[in-house]
């Protein structure tokens, strides 16, 4: 009888343990085992970016990572973005610029946008569109998302 694997990892700065079948994706583990349902499943094949999380400093599609690969890793999810003091400036900018409609793509866009601004605090529109090409949105037409990221970048620099 196959057994589950024991995994010790770090999520949003806290040590977390879980049991997972090796075939389970990190996305499944986050959502179904750890009840961290911020990361969404859109396509389950790496195209839509709705499942984006940060793993050891890089954003990845958590649907294309096995949960057991999280052993010893540092993972950041959308649940760690706001602080007790309030929303992250990107979250505020998404609200103020109406950069979401149904919202299913939003956690992924926020995680990806935050990684962009961490690495390049003042991106051009072209750089934002290129960086966010791994995130799909069926509702907004992207313009408002791009404007929200530019707005947040400006406010975070001020």
């Amino acid at each position: 009888m196959p057994t589950k694997s024991y995994v010790q990892t770090n999520i949003n700065g806290e040590s977390v343990e879980f049991l997972a079948e090796p075939r389970q994706s990190l996305l499944e583990v986050l959502r179904d085992t750890l009840q961290l349902t911020g990361a969404k499943e859109g396509c389950n094949d790496g195209n839509c970016g709705a499942c984006t999380v940060k793993m050891d400093g890089r954003i990845v599609c958590s649907c294309l990572v096995f949960g057991v690969e999280a052993e010893g890793a540092d993972i950041e999810t959308i649940e760690g973005m706001a602080s007790p003091e309030g929303l992250h400036p990107l979250q505020t900018a998404f609200l103020e610029n109406a950069a979401l409609q149904c919202g299913i793509c939003t956690p992924g866009f926020l995680m990806a946008s935050k990684a962009l601004l961490d690495h390049n605090p003042n991106p051009t529109e072209g750089q934002i569109r290129w960086w966010l090409a791994n995130n799909l949105c069926r509702c907004t037409g992207y313009d408002k998302i791009v404007r929200a990221v530019m707005d947040a970048a400006q406010k975070m620099q001020a």
């Binding site: 196959p2 694997s5 079948e21 090796p22 075939r23 994706s25 389950n44 094949d45 790496g46 195209n47 970016g49 984006t52 793993m55 890089r58 954003i59 990845v60 599609c61 649907c63 294309l64 990572v65 096995f66 057991v68 690969e69 052993e71 990806a112 990684a115 962009l116 569109r129 290129w130 960086w131 966010l132 090409a133 791994n134 995130n135």
Partner: protein
């Protein structure tokens, strides 16, 4: 997805031993961006996934001596952020920066792109153009394989069940050399090449000393068009000769028609893209700058 076992070896020897013991039941995994999708849809059904990206040797990037040896599991983002690679091998940056998007590039390796052996793989024509070799370890020892001999069919390569790709070696490109990879897609990013072309040239004053051109998405495996070198070596760098290369690429291609394009359209693209890519490679050989994308 069916049940799999997962192992995370720390050395090449340990990985080779796992692959040898499990035979066809095991598959190596680097970034998993091809493999996990294939497991999910049942296209590959190993019992055992051997995660090789924690083996230190497979993560090394060694740029001493003018060439580069890339560990098999090095992901795209490391490649396009490495100054020595950007400087000496911009064509590798061309490929690494268009494989998927940011999230995919955080995991996808050039080694995985090669081993997956897709006809459309964006790194393979570049590796062929640069004259790279694949370094392989197996239960009976090590061997090296020229990249143009590595893929044997769609999704198939020369590796035995006990063998692991450990690294890819790209030789130093001489002075007056330049290379370029470009693909044609109907979008700006995140799509599969309708046609891709990798080319490297070495110039001698106003003429071609050597030319290596390889095409993606026009045959069951990435195609190395040696006839272009036969025609161009020793000839002057002229628009007319570049146009000849385009014609030869067009004739060498054996494309199929599918939803991305008809065979005729692909042949036409081979001509156009070969001319563009050669012109960019020439610009780089002369010290000029061509942006990756």
């Amino acid at each position: 997805m069916k049940w799999i076992d997962y192992a995370r070896p720390q050395t090449v020897a340990e990985a080779v031993q796992l692959l040898t013991e499990r035979g066809d039941g095991a598959r190596a995994m680097a970034g998993g961006t091809d493999l996990i999708v294939q497991l999910r849809v049942g296209r590959r059904q190993p019992d055992h996934v051997v995660d090789v990206k924690h083996i230190p040797d497979l993560n090394e990037v060694n740029t001493s001596g003018g060439g580069v040896t890339l560990g098999a599991a090095v992901p795209c983002h490391i490649i396009y952020n490495n100054d020595a690679i950007k400087d000496a091998f911009p064509a590798l940056v061309d490929s690494a920066s268009i494989i998927g998007g940011t999230q995919i590039q955080g995991r996808a390796s050039i080694g995985g792109n090669l081993c997956n052996a897709a006809p459309s793989a964006d790194a393979i024509p570049t590796l062929i153009a640069l004259g790279a070799t694949a370094n392989v370890s197996g239960s009976t020892g090590e061997r090296s394989v020229a990249i143009e001999d590595f893929c044997t069919g769609p999704g198939q390569n020369v590796l035995g069940a006990d063998e692991l790709l450990t690294s890819i070696s790209i030789p130093a490109q001489g002075a007056n050399s330049g290379a370029r990879y470009q693909r044609f897609i109907p979008r700006n990013e995140m799509d599969i090449a309708v046609v891709g072309v990798g080319a490297s040239v070495t110039l001698n004053n106003g003429s071609f000393e050597s030319v290596r051109v390889s095409l993606a998405s026009v045959a069951p495996t990435p195609l190395f068009v040696t006839e272009i070198n036969d025609e161009l070596a020793g000839k002057d760098v002229t628009d007319e000769n570049i146009a000849k290369a385009g014609e030869i690429a067009k004739d060498a291609a054996k494309p199929i028609s599918d939803m991305r394009g008809t065979a005729d359209y692909r042949r036409h693209l081979c001509d156009v893209m070969t001319r563009r890519v050669l012109s960019d490679a020439i610009t780089r050989a002369r010290g000029g700058n061509v942006d990756a994308h």
